[in-house]
Amino acid sequence: MNEIHLTDDQLQAYLDGTLAETDAVEVHFASCPHCRQALEVYRQLYAAIEEEAAPELSPDFVDRVMTRLPESEFTADAEVFAGGFRLRDSLAFIVAIMAAIAAAVYFLNPVTLFRSVEDVSAPSLADNTYLSAFLKDLSGLHLDVSIVLFTILTFLGIALIDRILAHRRRHRKPISYLV
């Protein structure tokens, strides 16, 4: 064994703690001055490498990084990431839907269709005393009750869908790990 010396790879693996047969190697070191010397050289090399100081950056390096950052990178994400309800975007979407409904009412006159459905399936809303007063007020505004109720339900449905989508966006699966 004394005539067979450890290779550089074995010496490095021993120092890295990845050599399997460390016991046999240590027995060899005890009887082989050549390998002890070689190991000592590597030990000093490792120590010299690890003593090196980190590169010096400008004192204002961090400040300069901060000034280079884009302004509103995370504003929209912040609201979603925090699980918040994106009111601004939701309102815009709701207004758009209501405008579409109003346009449909104006051009396609779905009132007749809706009323026919209501006549067939739904009980009359005017039977309720409190509601009838409310409906009377509404009718004074020349608004069709079914359109108003339909719009309110649409508003609530859109708000619910938006909240669900915001929640799913926050917990979506990773797209990529590496840039």
Partner: protein, 211 residues
Amino acid sequence: MQEFPKKVQLRREITVIYSKVGMADQRQLVERIVAGDKNSFRALVKDYQRLVSHIVFRMIPPGPDREDLCQEVFVKVYQNLRNFRFDAKLSTWIARITYNSCLNFLDKKHLPLYDDLVEEDRPFEPAAPDDSARPDRAYESSRTGEIVRNEISRLPAVYKTLITLYHLEQMSYTEIGRIMNMPEGTVKSYLFRARKMLKGRLQAVYRGERS
């Protein structure tokens, strides 16, 4: 003789344990940054500027481009932090961005990365002949440190980066492989080869001083 390898392995195990414990803190930090907290990002820059500068300064030749590239790396980190899903350590992710940025820079400037990987075949010339050589104190640590630093600077960029990530950033072969997109076996092989080159050069310098 038993102490040194066990100390190295113990240090890496402690680093792994600390990393696992620190993942929760990292997650909170990232969440605060994504929520718009720029002070948290400032803290991230301070925490990781050493890692980024280590890689950039090893891979990019000296010049003003180095610090500019370090800044660009952190801007990229900021812009892409929303895509980070904690399937690796934050340091590994940032190091990977840094390494890729350096590769892109070297490619743009038509500078080599894998050049001179067989440099051990070249005749060796000592980096810095020293008139104050003291052969009787050949392994004095400060002298060794100076020689090692000079010789590291002359290694190919890949070897320099491997040595930096392993010895100065205490990263494992697996992490280094993820950063540099290399199999673990290749990381180990290149690292061993780089250190063998350094050892040979160190011994040659001292042989030259004695002669």
